[in-house]
Each structure stands twice: as C-alpha cells, then as structure tokens.
Symmetry: C2
Subunit: 174 residues, 2 copies
C-alpha cells in the first residue's frame, strides 16, 4: 500500500454497549502527525427476503435520526456467531421466516473515514413461515412490499438506510 498510515498511540475514549471509541495518534505518509478517531463496532448482518414478488421490510424507530425507518431485517453479530447465522436469526426474529439457505450479496463499509463496522448483506432462499419473536424491548413492524413500490420508495427518498438501498438496487429491475 502506497499511503499507509502508521499508528503511534491508541487510546480508548469510550467502551460502551454497542460501540467502542478510540483516538489514535498516527504518522502520515509524508511524516506529519495526525489524529484518527475510530468508532469500533463488532459488525452486522442484513438479509433480503423475497416471496411472490414482494420483499420483507421492517420499520423501526432509529434514535439518532428520531425517525421511523424502513430497512431490511438486520442486526448485530452476537458474540461468537457467524454472520450467516446472524442473518438467518434476524430474519426469523423480525420477519417470522426461516431461510434454509442464504447467499452473500455484499460486504459493505458504511462510513470508512471513522468507523470499522462491516455489514454483510445476504439473500434468503428455501423459505419457511415460522413465528416472529422480538425481544421485550424491541419495537418494529414488518411488511411485505411490492418491488415496484420499493423502487418508488428509494427514488423518492422514503428509504434512506444504506444497506437497504444497496440490497434493493441489486435486485430491483431498472
């Protein structure tokens, strides 16, 4: 790599429930010193699930924006859990669908300037209807939405979540 930045010192600023924040002193390729702020997150999985021309979407309140957002089912990796299993688990918990097979569509870096989260996006296959089971403190609704309508929702700005826009753009017709 031509432009590697070298870590001189790394300081943990905050160790929280979902994120850890670090402030690092680094050396740039020209020898100058700089600071890098890094939000560490253990990673997440999202899953696109299509049935009869409709896609399973969930709507939930997202505190940082104080808005309810449309997203595909997704969640944080539990400790020791493979990303595939996270995707399959979240689909069943949030959507009441069991996928016997998943295929990875993308591995995405949401904000690479200051965040190290990796979001894996899967597609679900060999589906079976089961039961949703949300945590007591989890509030979301799910809905099967027509692909044509989803295209309108993306281009009108109604769907804003990055992983969801990527998954949908990949499977919707132009």
């Amino acid at each position: 790599m031509r432009f590697k930045e070298k870590t001189v010192k790394s300081e943990v600023i905050y160790k929280g429930r979902i994120i850890t924040v670090k402030k690092d002193d680094i050396v740039l390729p020209n020898g100058n010193s700089a600071i890098r702020e890094v939000v560490h997150h253990s990673g997440g999985s999202a899953i696109l699930c299509e049935m009869d021309g409709k896609i399973l979407m969930v709507k939930q309140f997202r505190y940082p924006y104080a808005e309810e957002l449309w997203e595909i089912p997704a969640g944080k990796l539990n400790e020791g859990e493979s990303p595939e299993l996270t995707a399959i688990r979240e689909l069943e918990e949030e959507g009441g669908i069991k996928a016997k097979r998943v295929e990875k569509l993308f591995e995405i870096y949401p904000t690479p300037a200051y965040n190290d989260e990796i979001i894996r996006i899967y597609q679900a296959f060999d589906l079976e209807k089961t039961q949703k089971h949300l945590d007591e403190d989890e509030f979301l609704t799910s809905e099967w939405i027509e692909k044509e309508k989803l295209k309108d929702m993306i281009y009108s700005g109604e769907i804003k979540d990055a992983k969801t826009v990527i998954a949908l753009l990949a499977v919707l017709d132009k």
Copy 2:
C-alpha cells in the same frame, strides 16, 4: 410515530475533531429504560462523475480498516457550506473536474442504529477539466474507470464503500 423513544438525559462522552459521541438515557414505548449511544457527524457529500463511459474513482487509505479503498469523490461538509457546494468542491479538489450543475441522487443514512450522519450523493453535469488541489496531508489517487469494470469490482467485493456502491448500482446497467 408509534414507537418513539423519549430522551431523559443526554451526556456528551467525547467531542472530537470529526465526531461527537453521546450517551443518552431514554424511555422505550413500553415504559422501560434504555441507553442509546450516538455518534454525531456533521454530514458529507459524495459525487458521481461520468465522462465518456468512465466514472471518476478515488483510492485512499482508510485508517479504521487499514486498507486502501475505492470510492467516489466525497468529503465532510465545511461549516456553513451547503451539501451541493461540498460535492462540487470535493470533485474539483480530488478529481480536477469542475461541475457547473449537480443533481441529488440520494440522501443516505449509513448506520442508523448509532450514527446520525447524512450522506448526500450527487451526480455531476456540465463538466470542465481544471486542476486537482489536495491538502498537504491528503493522500489519494484518482482514476477514470470503465463502467463494465466497475460492475465487476462491485460484485467481486473490490468496492466496499456504501455510498460508492449505491451511486454505482444506480447508474450501471444491470
């Protein structure tokens, strides 16, 4: 909104150069208490620029992943700067192209569970070649890449940056 979360207390944990981290006590729709960690970022703009069937891409080292990543030109909003102006400025600084007109394609939330950044993605029109002018401490290379090649780079996982994948999926043929 059915599932609104109410802020009880908001504490600034870290006020940095690029991000501010807050830890809020909230009340859930069922009356239970919870914590929300929020990374605040002032927002950014990205810009897709096409000329003669090629798209302008930049490659730079991204410290959180310790990798060089392919992205479309982008940057943080300067204080008081409109998102359109940020996009136009970054295209000229990083790519040496002046756009006389831009159109907004998307407004994206990269990781809505714990981050409030808004990334606006523009498309550049009425282009004129000028000069790149990077900051002394900014290291990146730019390259015009064929659209067909970019499709391969997305689906092979070589391009991982979320805003870039969204912008490219929107304009590349299926």
